[in-house]
């Protein structure tokens, strides 16, 4: 077990290097540059720009820039935003908790509602309940999240007035509810379907028949014997999904004006602030890797047939 975890942690190093290099090179390849973006529509003094670039190290060759960035990173320096002169670490520290809150909220919504719906439908396969769930999830899967986001915003905020259309205060969970539902809806659909299929399949399993033959009450059969086996694939999905939710937050934050990581990345992209984008995306990559490691370990806890050496 310990060796397995160590190996998995070591595997994160090449993934980390690869993903930062990839994003870094993408930012480098994008047209436009951050210093020029400072000037907007003003007349430009080329010598001045070259001077600023040199002072920021942006005139160096690509690989050297990457090296500088990495060495800085290992000293805990995420770089500094060119336009605002704010350290990137501070920018992330401001934006990240907001996105984390939104993501966790969406994740909880996905888990609780998705699994509940899946269990309810899976226990009654091919009934009306089951078929309506399949139809609903199909709808959620096929409608893109930005369409769903604007539609929800229109109905629930502008028409019905139940919620605020924008998130002014990211500490306010009532305001975060709608964005969280929109963000979690796609995963919710997948989780519900996965749970439903898994439950419906295991319901016919021999060990469930044994549990019935043992004279166990139905609650125990479902809660102890059926659920544990059925949730194994769902847990696997949820782990990789947490990362996807953070990525999806970029779009949702845009719709509902949440000043989170998505907003920050969008801003930084439009100003070609490479170090900000790389910092944020790398953080998401690392969170994703840690989550998938945790899921794999949890997998062994849930299914004793799996042993890591």
């Amino acid at each position: 077990m310990g060796r397995y975890v160590a190996r998995r942690l070591l595997q994160m190093i090449p993934v980390f290097l690869g993903s930062t290099l990839l994003i870094f090179s993408m930012m480098y390849a994008l047209p436009g540059d951050p210093v020029r973006a400072l000037y907007g529509e003003q007349a430009i003094d080329q010598a001045q720009i070259a001077e600023i670039k040199r002072s920021l190290g942006l005139d160096k060759p690509f690989l050297l820039q990457y090296w500088d960035y990495l060495t800085g990173l290992f000293q805990g320096d995420f770089g500094t935003q060119i336009a605002s002169q704010q350290p990137v670490a501070d920018v992330i520290a401001d934006a990240f908790p907001i996105t984390a809150r939104l993501t966790i909220f969406a994740f909880l919504f996905t888990v609780v509602v998705g699994i509940t719906l899946g269990v309810v439908a899976g226990l009654r396969p091919d009934t009306l309940v089951d078929k309506s769930l399949l139809a609903l999830t199909l709808l959620l899967i096929s409608v893109p999240s930005f369409v769903l986001g604007y539609a929800f915003q229109y109905f629930f905020a502008f028409q019905l007035g139940w919620v605020d259309p924008n998130v002014n205060d990211p500490e306010n969970y009532g305001q975060l509810l709608l964005p969280a539902i929109v963000l979690g809806s796609l995963s919710l659909a997948y989780v519900a379907r996965l749970t439903r299929t898994s439950i419906a399949e295991n319901l016919r399993a021999d060990y469930v028949r044994t549990a019935v033959a043992k004279g166990l009450p139905r609650r125990r059969i479902v809660g102890v014997h059926l659920m544990r086996n059925s949730l194994i694939p769902v847990v696997t999905f949820l782990g990789s999904d947490l990362g996807a939710l953070m990525g999806g937050a970029v779009v949702t934050e845009g719709i509902f004006n949440v000043r989170g990581v998505g907003y920050t990345v969008y801003e930084a992209l439009s100003r070609r602030e490479g170090s900000t984008v790389v910092g944020v995306v790398t953080l998401i990559v690392i969170i994703y890797l840690v989550c998938s490691l945790l899921v794999d370990l949890l997998y062994a806890v849930l299914d004793p047939r799996i042993r890591y050496a």
């Binding site: 021999d206 060990y207 028949r209 033959a213 043992k214 009450p217 004793p304 047939r305």
Partner: protein
């Protein structure tokens, strides 16, 4: 072993508890499954009885309805698509089909227990065997987790699993096939039920282990004076342990007989065919007999005797009239207790 001492006193009161009703009596049981293609009549009027301490072997090919009958007795049929349109299942004189779901649940496991064919898939893969055994005591007798585990170890000892205390926290996949089947048996025995239904308990095991498991089952049955319904398609297994045999075909019982009588003088052509298709050492080199044709499609069972399309002796009457279960007698009319045959020509079959 204190466990055995305690229980050896139990059989006596069980045998005569005031009523003369048999332990289990199945009366005219019908089971059908409603499928997209029509109604599959899996069981069509089965009657049998089992007394305490008695072993009934139910014999038949796949699809003959033997397992479905057992599942109906256990109350673990999937309904729907399954349905029991008529019949009674009397346990100690009480019709279980008329009981509430909760009353039936309390009987399951504690009064009537079942052993399944494939122990690997029938045990929950993610729970320890100790937990699964102990669950019986926790649910039915309200024991604590700790007491239940101690009981589980006792049970594992009883079915002769070596180092039971050390293995109680192991998972099913960590046991061999024979040991897993012993755990299934232990689970069925846990609450010392009055009746055990063993659905092909040895089919998934290799031959040497088969004998051990059957011996263990027979030994424990004698010890607890339980009724046993042994469902099998293996005639070899039956001969050693059964008291009487019921042969099933297309959801009906076609012949019943005390075990040795049946082997000596079958009174139904289907039984004859089954016996002839056992490989025998003294017929080495000869072609092995096989009953021609396939078991009938339960969606459209042949009219008359269901066996008629495959029967070497079928006549016109067999294609039109369904034979009742005749009482089989000696040539001179002398009674043969327990012998019945659903063949129009049972006389010709038994007396040649």
């Amino acid at each position: 072993m204190t466990i055995i001492d305690n229980t050896s006193a139990v059989p006596a009161p069980r045998a005569d508890d005031g009523n003369s009703a048999p332990l289990l009596e199945v009366r005219d049981l019908h089971v059908e499954f409603h499928t997209r293609d029509g109604v599959a009549r899996a069981v069509n009027g089965v009657n049998y009885t089992v007394d305490a301490g008695e072993t009934l072997a139910v014999l038949g090919e796949s699809g003959s309805g033997k397992s479905v009958t057992a599942q109906a007795i256990m109350g673990i049929l999937d309904m729907p698509p399954g349905r029991i349109p008529q019949g009674e299942i009397l346990f100690r004189g009480q019709d279980m089909l008329k009981m509430s779901a909760e009353d039936r649940r309390k009987i399951r496991g504690s009064k009537i227990a079942m052993i399944f064919q494939d122990a690997l898939s029938s045990l929950n893969p993610v729970l320890t065997v100790g937990y699964q055994l102990g669950e019986m005591f926790r649910v039915h007798e309200g024991l604590s987790k700790k007491e239940a585990k101690a009981k589980a170890i006792e049970l594992m000892d009883q079915v002769k699993i070596p180092a039971a205390a050390a293995r109680v926290n192991d998972y099913p996949h960590q046991f061999s096939g024979g040991m897993r089947q012993r755990i299934m048996i232990a689970m069925a025995l846990a609450l010392e039920p009055d009746l055990i239904i063993a659905d092909e308990p040895t089919t998934a095991l290799d031959v040497t282990v088969q004998a051990q498991v059957m011996d263990l089952l027979a030994e424990l049955q004698r010890e607890y004076h339980m009724g046993l319904i042994l469902i099998t398609h293996d005639l070899g297994v039956v001969a050693d342990v059964a008291d009487k045999i019921a042969v099933m075909y297309a959801g009906r019982i076609v012949e019943t007989a005390p075990v040795h009588e049946l082997y000596k003088r079958p009174a139904h052509p289907y039984t004859r065919g089954l016996l002839d298709s056992i490989p025998r050492l003294d017929q080495k080199g000869q072609e092995l007999y096989a009953i021609q044709g396939l078991p009938p499609n339960l969606l459209k069972i042949p009219t008359g005797c269901a066996f008629n399309p495959r029967c070497p002796k079928a006549q016109d009457i067999c294609r039109t009239d369904t034979p009742p279960l005749y009482d089989v007698t000696e040539r001179d009319g002398g009674a043969l207790p327990g012998r019945r045959s659903a063949c129009h020509f049972w006389k010709e079959q038994i007396h040649g």
